[in-house]
Amino acid sequence: MNNFLRNQPIKQKIVVITLVTSFVALLLACVSFVAFEQYNFRGEMIEDLSVTAEMIGFNCGSALVFDDVKSAEQTMKGLVAQSHVIAACIYAADGRIFATYQRPGARRTTWPPAQASGATFDPDHLGLFHPIEIDGEKIGTIYLESDLRELGVRWRRYTLISILVLAMSSLVAWLLASKLQRVISEPVSGLARIAERVAAESDYSIRAVKHGNDEIGRLIDGFNHMLTQVQGRDAELKVSRTDLERRVEERTSALRQAEGETAQKAAQLRFIIEAVTFSVTWIDYRSTVTERLINPAFYRITGLDPSRMPELNEVRAISFPDDLKRQDEFRGQLTRGEIDDFSMEKRYLRPQGDTVWVVLAIKVYRGDDGRILQEVSTLVDITERKRAELELEDLHRQLLETSRQAGMAEVATGVLHNVGNVLNSVNVSSTLVSDQVRRSKIPNLAKVLVLLDEHAADLGAYLTTDEKGKMIRPYLATLAESLAAEHRTIVLELENLRKNIEHIKDIVAMQQSYAKTSGVVETVSVTDLVEDAIRMNAGSLARHDVDLNREYEARPVITLEKNKVLQIIVNLVRNAKYACDESGRSDKVLTTRITATDENVSITISDNGVGIPKENLNRIFAHGFTTRKGGHGFGLHSGALAAKELGGSLTAQSAGPGLGATFVLTLPFKPHSPHEPTLPR
């Protein structure tokens, strides 16, 4: 029913619904009416039959009490008038059948037993028992049986009436519904037509006409409103569609261009990757099959067969075992996610039999979960660089050796100079002693002894009386005095000589001690070092009349290569002395200062000599630069190098020519080892 109705026009739906509703309602009413009528008529029948029974019973009561069957039967014959009564029977109080009656033509032999008052409808008859009473006393029972003809007649009659009413009503209902459905269906179908038109013509300017203010009216309002909006949107849409199309066009061309550019870029990239001299290997773990991309340089560097992709173990096989161990450590860190990249120097033993040095750099790109997605490894052939490095190292070593030797020579020059100075003193002392001895009055003593020997006989008289003899004693006294002075002088000179020889011994021993400890790190007092350097130049400082001014703010102890530092300081002291000397001024002062911070020790050597012109301040540390006659321009250069090697620095300051210069040697407390190998990363 619903399915049938669903696709019917509303017009038909309304008619059908109205008809069905009214028909069902009417049918129910008719059925109820017929049923009620039947029910009522049954009641009426019972009522009628009861009245008849009452009457017959009353009329037969006396016959029953006075046992007059004939009279009773006579009375009952009156039932003939009531054609619907089929049979009747009177029972005595004890239930015995007293008298009977049957409709003419009926032949009945059995009777129901007497029962209490009540009516029973059977399919073909109505049976009714009714008590017969006289003066309130039950004296018997009457049974009446009625046919149901009247019931049937009435049922048929009323059913027919109902059908007629139903038919008429339905007809009227149909006519009314057909007329009245328009009230609802026409606005709706009108709306539907408008909607169809809008859909078919895409014309949003059409409007539905409103008939009333009911739900359909509101629906039409809503529809029109919607149309207005759609119209607006449609216009906007058209505009934006045009705009969009234009933009799509633009984007498409831009995209096409970009695509072309991308392809070009990709080709460029490919060209670059293939052209670069270092090996690039790209591994993509994202797809199920690991993808690898290797550029030609890889085969050039490793010497592997370029006609096929090398297996991992082939690459491992040509790696040096030590390098492989380190590489595996890095690889382990990479796998565990501790690092994302590493680089190392390693060697390959090429199948051709030679060894290549390479820098292997690997970088991985991880996904959000830390899984390695891509890996790029590069190999750069550094064999040439390695060789150059080795050569450079060798050169450096030679240079250092040279510089050291040069330094040593400088020191040796200083030492010899000092020794020479001292030897001068030794010479002077020994000449003095030898002159003293040569000019000694000791031969005069021998002359006195000869005189005394000549006057041995009369020595006493000679000494007291002789003119000459009398002179001997004062002469001897004078001689003794002179000899004593001579003795003192000689002893003094010999003492000087001994001291000078001692000095030479010291100088030699010191030189020996520096020479021996070369390259050995030891802990020394900075003050001692500075003092040693001064002592090494003591002779020339004294000779050139340079005053020393010591400003030791700290007396730190430092661990370093003693001889290197000493060479620097000796060199600085000597330069200061020369600077002072050249200035020709009388108040030549050399100041040594030691200062310390938490990390560094600074040794400052200042002079008030000729100073350094500004333009030379940067050049003085260059190899071979000198302003001194006879200088070889090596001292400051090697000093600066040595300071750097020790982890410190050597700097120069000067206010200008004639204003003196200050050199500062800064050294770290911690010994620094610049040659300690560091792993390239």
Binding site: N59, G61, S62, A63, V65, F66, D67, D68, S71, I134, D135, G136, E137
Partner: protein, 200 residues
């Protein structure tokens, strides 16, 4: 037994059943007829007792008959009592028009004071004349059982038609006693003597 013809099993059964059925029927008839014979007289008076009682229902006494009294309707039996216990048994516990029903033997006219129905057994009809002064004008339904009773002026007279008890009515007598007899009763009477005709 060996000389008897050999019979099928069905036959002796049917034969036996017939014999038994006949015997039973005979026995029932004998018993019934014996008891009927013995109780004919008793039955007649039992019926008459019932009729006497039932007459009270079909008789309308004058309005002032009972007055405010709630006394029972009394059936008087003139002289001797032919009912034995039957009448008492019949009226026991019955009510007519809300009144109890009583029965007693009446021997003297003085005892008629509250009698409503007076039965004259056979042979007592002559007493009717004796009682006439008391009866005239009194609302007493007189019932008799001899054929001459009506002639004496009784209202209802029993008679026998075969073994059935019937009655005749003298409307003049009943009217004289200011009694109205129900049409129901009248239609059952074998004969009804109209009042005008009977009036002497």
């Amino acid at each position: 037994m060996p000389i008897l013809p050999k019979l099928s099993w069905d036959r002796p059964c049917i034969a036996h059943a017939r014999i038994i059925g006949t015997c039973a029927a005979a026995l029932i008839w004998a018993v019934a007829s014996t008891s009927g014979a013995e109780s004919t007289a008793t039955k007649e008076y039992r019926v008459k007792a019932a009729f006497l009682y039932n007459f009270t229902k079909f008789v309308e006494f004058p309005p002032d008959h009972f007055g405010a009294s709630s006394r029972p309707i009394t059936i008087g039996i003139m002289g001797h009592d032919p009912f034995g216990a039957e009448l008492q048994k019949t009226i026991l516990g019955r009510k007519v028009d809300g009144r109890d029903v009583a029965a007693r033997v009446v021997t003297s006219p003085a005892e008629l004071a509250d009698v409503d129905v007076l039965f004259f057994p056979a042979g007592e009809e002559r007493r009717f004349d004796e009682l006439r002064p008391q009866l005239s004008g009194a609302a007493i339904l007189t019932v008799g059982e001899s054929s001459s009773f009506a002639a004496h002026g009784g209202a209802i007279t029993f008679l026998l038609e075969g073994d059935k008890v019937r009655f005749s009515i003298d409307l003049g007598a009943s009217a004289a006693a200011r009694l109205k007899l129900s049409a129901q009763l009248l239609k059952l009477a074998t004969s009804v003597r109209a009042a005008s005709a009977t009036r002497p």
